[in-house]
């Protein structure tokens, strides 16, 4: 390891512009002749559109156009689609209802756009949007998934009878039932995974420009995957052919999944730019973000976990209802199936698992992947059930886990996944030591003296990253391949540009990716630049989500570096009159090993481009491209331990310690990786203790601002104690597993297990607000237990 290569705590290259206010985000982009869009949004959760009167808005000074759904459809703009086909257990395809970027006949959630106003200023556009008169005929609405499945519930899409999108299963139901019937102990729970709003601090934004001469569109937008955006905008939404559409995702201010998808607003801005001949800009305000950004989670699950007399798990049966909202978002179908049910084996050797999932339409904003995407739901279920089972069985929670850990790899679970590497006990032991669990009893006694309840909770998580082998996901219904691309350009002066299909929206790729290149060729970090986020510059790529940039994106870069190295060695061997096998690259030099014959790295670059003296038949230039398709998912895992104090009189809960031991495989930049864990843990604490999207019975969004939706703030969270005990991933060249989502996955059960340990009842739902904790204590009759 060098001071700038793999494993070094290199300061981030992007941070000078971010700390000085010079980041360039979509809303910072200003085009000449720019107009502004404001959307006319439904105040009803479910209504027919009887008519739209634009006249008052059109008459306002500064209004350029008022556009509606029928006009958009008439211009051939296609419906928004879900790109992953999931088949019901009876063999029928999923029931995908039509989703037009601007509603045509019906609106299906509060915030669904019925029209758009284009005006000279944002303020005029917003005022005019209020003047557009939409004649709605309100329909009964339903916001809760289980109610949407009930007989007589409002029918949201005609082609999804009973609001059922699919009824899917995985695993062997008969074998699981038999195992549970023969179990010595069965733990049963009903668990809700609360609905969350992702809330990246940068709201979504789009600036669309149509050039009528070239019939060409340019879209600046807040995307985690600009090439995927271009692909679907072109192939499915019929906005423009790919070669006539440039998508740029400049600096992007956080995504957490919510910026994977191509939303109605980006489509509408592109179309409106063509219609009006103006650049059209739209930036979401925070209320629109709560109303229209895809939400996360929202599962209700009943489950049974059976044990034999030796406390070994014999079977796990799960029945989940997943709320999809009013429309099927881009990857929504995969979240409660292939990203959830496939992780239900957790870290444990379980022979029999069966999971049934019903996906349901409701009159709420669409639900899709949010940091973790299915894996937090699986982990929360498994780890709360393990902790509860341990309490019921009267054994230490850690010992119950140890008794069931998978210890040999590779390990094939009964739910598709084949875990490739891990050492779960190493993570557990590291976390136990770091958290000073041995000293917990004394700390608990000390708390009790102050009349305060202290609790300890564990979570041993596993997740799947590096999505994913294209053929495998294709066989499961994915509409795209999930490889990644890279292009490495060595310039004639020896500096390097790496073009990657991955996209950085806070992850520090400009630094970490450059470290890998610096490490490989022993070059200064400053001589390496990472380029991403522009479809005109970078070849097709699949983008950043599912913690895939290290495991998949960097693997593509390594593959391209392999090709560059081979060519460099051929050139040097030719110039230095040596064998390729004897060429080594180090210290800015390309040398013949064991001799003093050498040429500078930059001289190789120059040789490649002057092409005066290249090996016979070699093409000039030094630029290589690679596409990397992963061989398997990767499986980050670890143990988190949370220690809390609960004031029994108020329910106020304080996290006293939060300890992580993660196995991420190879770590490129520990400083960046720690930050990823910190942020994920904070989001997990948010889910566990603070955050909850609430719709009322009429489908009105109650939590539409930061006054109503509680985000974790600086005084809500502790310092985090982060450790690593790693095994190398055998399935990619650098041995990387991924670190972006682990915190959000592993944290919620650790927190709830700690609080329930403190208050002595398992009956506690997220978010564990002071009121919820106090109420649980009252209900359990243990509120006077603190002594």
């Amino acid at each position: 390891m060098t001071d700038q290569g793999i494993g070094a705590r290199v300061k981030r290259k992007e941070d000078k512009r971010f700390t000085t206010g010079h980041g360039k985000y979509t809303d910072d982009v200003r085009m000449e002749n720019q107009a502004y869009a404001a959307f006319v949004r439904s105040p009803f959760a479910h209504a027919e559109i009887k008519g739209i009167d634009k006249s008052a808005a059109e008459a306002m000074e500064g209004v350029i156009a008022v556009l509606t759904g029928p006009e958009l459809v008439a211009d051939g703009i296609g419906n928004i689609i879900c790109g992953w086909a999931v088949t019901s257990k009876d063999g029928s395809p999923m029931n995908m209802g039509a989703w037009s970027a601007l509603a045509t006949e019906k609106v299906r959630y509060v915030g669904d756009a019925a029209a758009v106003v284009i005006a000279e200023s944002d303020a005029i556009a917003r005022r005019a949007a209020e003047a557009v008169e939409v004649d709605y005929a309100e329909l009964p609405a339903v916001a809760v998934a289980s109610k949407a499945l009930a007989a007589g519930a409002p029918q949201i899409h005609d082609n999804a009878p009973g609001n059922l999108i699919y009824d899917w299963e995985i695993g062997d139901e008969a074998a699981t039932d038999a195992a549970l019937a023969g179990a010595a102990h069965v733990t049963e729970m009903e668990i809700t995974n609360n609905r969350l709003a992702p809330n990246p601090m940068e709201p979504r934004s789009a600036v669309a420009t149509y050039d009528p001469i070239e019939e060409h569109y340019t879209l600046y937008t807040t995307s985690q995957n600009p090439h995927v955006a271009r692909l679907v905008l072109s192939a499915f939404y019929q906005v423009a052919p790919e070669n006539k559409l440039r998508v740029v995702a400049p600096d992007v201010g956080g995504g957490f999944g919510s910026k994977i998808y191509i939303y109605p607003e980006e489509i509408t801005c592109l179309w409106a730019s063509m219609k009006t001949g103006r650049s059209v800009k739209w930036t979401s305000d925070r209320s629109e973000a709560f109303m229209t950004d895809a939400h996360g989670r929202d599962h209700v699950t009943t489950a049974k976990l059976g044990f034999d007399a030796d406390n070994r798990i014999v079977g796990f049966k799960v029945d989940t209802i997943a709320n999809f909202g009013a429309y099927m978002s881009l990857f929504s179908s995969a979240v409660p199936t292939y990203l959830y049910a496939t992780l239900l084996s957790g870290q444990y050797d379980i022979a029999n698992i069966h999971c049934n999932v019903r996906a349901v339409y409701t009159n709420t904003v669409p639900v899709d992947a949010y940091r973790g995407a299915g894996r937090p739901e699986a982990c929360y279920l498994v780890e709360r059930m393990m902790e509860t089972a341990a309490r019921e069985l009267g054994v230490e929670p850690t010992e119950l886990r140890r008794a069931n850990f998978i210890r040999e790899f590779p390990h094939q679970t009964p739910v598709i996944m084949a875990y490739d590497a891990g050492d779960f006990e190493a993570n557990l032991d590291q976390a136990l030591a770091a958290a000073d669990v041995a000293g917990f009893a004394a700390r608990k006694a000390e708390s009790a003296k102050r009349g305060v309840l202290r609790g300890l909770g564990f979570s041993s998580y596993i997740e799947a990253c590096g999505i994913a082998p294209s053929a495998a996901v294709g066989s499961l219904g994915a509409g795209v391949g999930l490889w990644e691309s890279a292009e490495v350009r060595v310039n004639a002066v020896g500096t390097i540009e790496v073009l990657t299909g991955s996209h950085s929206h806070g992850q520090g790729h400009e630094t970490a990716f450059a470290q890998v290149v610096a490490d490989r060729f022993d070059l200064p970090l400053d001589s390496i630049s990472i380029v991403h986020g522009d479809t005109d510059t970078v070849q097709m790529g699949m983008g950043t989500y599912g913690s895939r940039s290290g495991a998949v994106g960097l693997s593509a870069i390594v593959k391209a570096l392999d090709k560059v190295e081979a060519k460099v060695k051929k050139i040097a061997a030719h110039v230095l009159e040596a064998s390729e096998d004897d060429i080594v690259i180090e210290g800015g030099q390309v040398k013949v090993a064991g001799t003093d014959k050498a040429m500078g790295w930059h001289e190789v670059g120059l040789s490649a481009y002057t092409a005066h003296n290249l090996p016979e038949g070699m093409e000039p230039g030094l630029k290589e491209t690679a596409f990397y398709d992963p061989a398997n998912f990767t499986f980050p895992a670890g143990t988190y331990i949370c220690e809390v104090e609960v004031d029994p009189e108020t329910g106020v809960t304080k996290i006293e310690r939060f300890t992580c031991s993660d196995d991420f495989g190879t770590i490129i930049n520990p400083m960046i990786v720690e930050g990823q864990v910190h942020g994920g843990v904070a989001q997990g604490i948010g889910q566990a203790m603070l955050e909850q999207v609430v719709y009322d019975d009429d489908g009105q969004l109650i939590t539409g601002s930061y006054m109503d939706y509680t985000m974790p703030r600086a005084d809500d969270v502790p310092f985090y104690d982060v450790h690593h005990a790693s095994t190398t991933c055998p399935n990619n060249p650098l041995g990387i597993k991924g670190c972006g989502e682990a915190g959000a996955i592993g944290t919620p059960p650790a927190v709830i297990n700690a609080i329930t340990d403190a208050i002595g009842t398992n009956d506690l739902a997220m978010p564990a607000t002071p009121q919820a904790v106090w109420s649980a204590l009252q209900a359990s009759g243990k509120s006077m237990a603190a002594e």
């Binding site: 941070d15 809303d27 940068e202 400083m671 910190h678 942020g679 600086a714």
Partner: protein, 159 residues
């Protein structure tokens, strides 16, 4: 709508602009003066991404009207570095990677600077309470709090 002429000082430079009566200071900074460091994260004063100082007082510029800048001294994140040299807070944020996506960072830096001007030796809890008005979704605040404490120590050492 007729515009109002405003004369103000921004980051030490006398500045004039025309704005509408209902335009926020944040809109003026971003759209008229092209100082895009301050961000709109909520528009309701709940997230702190638009933090600037007005006559030395920390404010959410989304809740201040542009016309209120008349005769005032305004500082923004763009005014923190002096002559190309980063402010110790900026340097510590960079050294410790106390930021990720960068959207909340300008507001947090401005807010932290305002804290250290009032209280050069804050405790961890004082920093957490002061910055509770600034939302960050990426970092979990850990490195932010440590960077502010480290910058405070540096500034005390230099004083």
């Amino acid at each position: 709508m007729s515009k109002t002429h405003v004369t103000t000082t921004i980051n030490g430079t006398r500045t004039e602009f025309l704005c509408e009566a209902n335009e926020t200071l944040l809109t003026v900074l971003r759209d008229r003066l092209h100082l895009t460091g301050a961000k709109e994260g909520c528009g309701s004063g709940d997230c702190g991404a638009c933090s600037v100082t007005l006559n030395g007082r920390l404010v959410a510029s989304c809740l201040v009207l542009g016309v209120e800048a008349e005769g005032a001294e305004i500082t923004t994140v763009e005014g923190m570095a002096e002559g190309g040299e980063l402010h110790p807070l900026q340097q510590k944020f960079l050294d410790l990677a106390a930021l990720q996506c960068g959207v909340c960072t300008p507001g947090i830096l401005v807010a932290a600077k305002a804290l250290l001007e009032k209280n050069p030796d804050p405790s961890e809890q004082e920093v957490r309470y002061w910055l509770a008005g600034n939302l960050c979704r990426c970092t979990g605040y850990d490195k932010i709090i440590k960077a502010v404490l480290a910058a405070a120590a540096d500034l005390r050492g230099a004083a």
